[in-house]
């Protein structure tokens, strides 16, 4: 029942990744991953929210009555998201304008309330903090992979608009991989997001299958075993 710290890290980043395995928070994941910079921006905001909400929920876990815990979590998450939204509006205004409604919508990201309910409300503060950070990084990783894939296919660049996130020197970060007049427009559209996400999930499952220490018996083998024993 009590996962070790390594388990928490591995769960968040890979085994129980919120994007690839739990499939939580797909709405911002698919809507905002059009370019890598958007993805990084939303990923950082979500990670911060997860970290802070997990810490706060864990701190009040002995005080909040179980009957009203969900509204309490929602209030906590909403306050944190509001603070982050104001901060982004102040310091990353260009990015804030692009991400638009999806920053306040972090509130509705099921991954956050899911971690509050499933993990933070049952674990100590440091463990909840680690879990929030790792889940956030896992989510950010998927966002960045998706953003990079779609940006390269869709407009042939990488880190376009990076100055919105890193200031003026960010202009140097933009990489033009191929001339963008032949960009694959579908990759930037919602169907492209779903397809790229499907490919990422397939890739993760493929990696899992090929790195399993003990290969699980295939359907035919287990059926053969069953018929031998019967």
């Amino acid at each position: 029942m009590n996962p070790t710290l390594t388990d928490i890290i591995r769960d968040g980043l890979w085994n129980n990744n919120p994007g690839l395995v739990q499939l939580l928070g797909l709405c911002p994941l698919l809507a905002i991953s059009g370019t890598m910079v958007n993805a990084i921006g939303l990923g950082i905001a979500t990670t911060l929210t997860l970290l802070l909400s997990n810490v706060l929920v864990s701190m009040i876990r002995r005080h909040a009555r179980p009957e009203i815990r969900i509204p309490v979590y929602v209030l906590i998450i909403a306050s944190i998201v509001t603070a982050i939204e104001l901060a982004m509006n102040a310091w990353f205004h260009g990015l804030f304008l692009i991400l638009g409604i999806f920053i306040p919508l972090i509130v509705t990201n099921c991954a956050i309330i899911g971690r509050a309910e499933a993990f933070a409300s049952r674990n100590s503060v440091p463990r909840a903090a680690l879990d929030g950070l790792m889940m956030g990084l896992g989510f950010t990783g998927v966002l960045i992979a998706l953003g990079a894939l779609r940006e390269i296919l869709g407009q042939g660049t990488l880190m376009d608009n990076a100055h919105l996130l890193f200031g003026e020197w960010g202009h140097n970060l933009t990489i033009q991989i191929y001339p963008s007049e032949h960009g694959f427009l579908l990759a930037l559209l919602p169907p492209g997001a779903f397809m790229a996400m499907g490919l990422l999930i397939a890739a993760k499952n493929w990696i899992d299958q090929h790195t399993a220490t003990e290969p699980e018996p295939t359907a035919e083998e287990s059926r053969a075993e069953a018929s031998e024993t019967s």
Binding site: H182, F184, L185, L186, A187, L189, M195
Partner: protein, 353 residues
């Protein structure tokens, strides 16, 4: 005299999959030749490339899925997919449009769903929609409809254009390409002109542009051949054409200045080839008689609705894909009554029989 006792099955299907697809390919020939006559050698070049890519991707995917390659290729379905895709795109579209479209058609729409017989969507139309939304500039390169001897490009020049993506010599795209009748109608109506003013331009013949009319007629010929050979049934094509013509006729009677005539709608763009060759795909279409009629009518109405109020000049591919989603439900809701039972009766094999 010897009476042979044969074991079942006693009724052998008249067509194998490969045989059916072969009939479809034969039926596509007249329309394809007509298109080549009016739109130049690029049509043939694209059909050749499309079939080549489709067979190559099919072979690669079948091999990757560890299935018998030659036996699968013998069902000819990849050839039909490649051919239909090539007819849907503009004749002078560069080769990589075909490559990407066919890759999506065969790899994503067909084999990721389990191969022939398991694909819920028509593969050729998935490929076409992918390139249509991704490369709007390349997908607008329809040449003016002339006759082959007057075509501005020879066979070799067409091949060069398709392979390099740029016209040979000093020719300009603007001189070679022209708006299709559907484009012209759409643009004209949007800019406030009446149907009468638009069709008065030399572009239009009796119903729509002369070339397009004849291409439609020759695809109709092929479609009638398929009907005659019982490869397809009448329900879907008739329902598609009526599904376009009836709403188009209704609005045309209401306001003939702002709505094109039903004949224009039926003979423009891809309605005829769509009704006989694309909507009748045995895998992704509905299979019960009533289901087929509803499926076809849905495609027809959607074509008219998207053409008239939607964002694209033609809509056969979108309409077919949307109705593909509905086909399983239609099949479920329109199951024919089992002989000897009431419609709401118990399922077979529950002891009441």
């Amino acid at each position: 005299m010897r009476f042979r006792t044969e074991s079942s099955p006693h009724v052998i299907p008249a067509h194998s999959v490969g045989g059916v697809m072969q009939q479809v390919l034969m039926a596509l020939v007249p329309g394809t030749l007509a298109m080549t006559w009016f739109f130049g050698w690029g049509v043939l070049v694209n059909v050749l490339l499309g079939v080549l890519f489709a067979v190559a991707f099919e072979a690669a995917m079948v091999a990757a899925r560890k299935r018998p390659v030659m036996a699968t290729l013998a069902d000819n379905s990849a050839i039909v997919t490649g051919w239909l895709f090539a007819l849907a795109i503009p004749p002078l579209a560069p080769f990589w449009v075909t490559l990407i479209g066919i890759a999506f058609a065969i790899i994503v729409a067909k084999h990721l769903y389990g191969g022939l017989g398991y694909n819920p969507f028509n593969p050729a139309m998935v490929g076409y929609v992918v390139v249509l939304v991704s490369f709007p500039r390349e997908m607008a390169l329809w040449p003016a409809a002339t006759t082959l001897p007057e075509s501005p490009l020879t066979l070799l020049q067409s091949l060069q254009t398709v392979l390099t993506g740029s016209l040979p010599g000093t020719q300009e795209w603007d001189a070679v390409t022209r708006a299709t009748p559907l484009d012209a109608m759409r643009e004209g109506l949007v800019s406030g002109r009446t149907v009468g003013e638009i069709t008065a331009s030399p572009l239009f013949g009796t119903f729509t542009e002369t070339g397009w009319e004849w291409v439609g007629n020759f695809f109709l010929l092929g479609g009638l051949y398929l009907l005659f050979r019982r490869v397809i049934h009448w329900h879907i094509p008739v329902a598609v054409i009526l599904g376009v013509a009836i709403p188009a006729g209704f609005f045309w009677l209401l306001d003939p200045d702002s709505f094109a005539s039903p004949a224009f709608h039926v003979f423009s763009g891809a309605v005829i080839i769509g009704a006989f060759f694309i909507a009748t795909d045995p895998v992704s279409a509905s299979t019960t008689p009533l289901g087929r009629i509803l499926y076809g009518a849905g495609i027809g109405v959607l074509i008219f609705v998207i053409r008239t109020w939607g964002g694209y000049p033609d809509a056969v591919a979108f309409a077919v894909l949307l109705m593909n989603m509905v086909a399983p439900t239609l099949d479920h809701l329109t199951r024919p009554r089992i002989f000897g039972r009431t419609r709401g009766g118990p399922p077979p094999g529950d002891g009441h029989a």
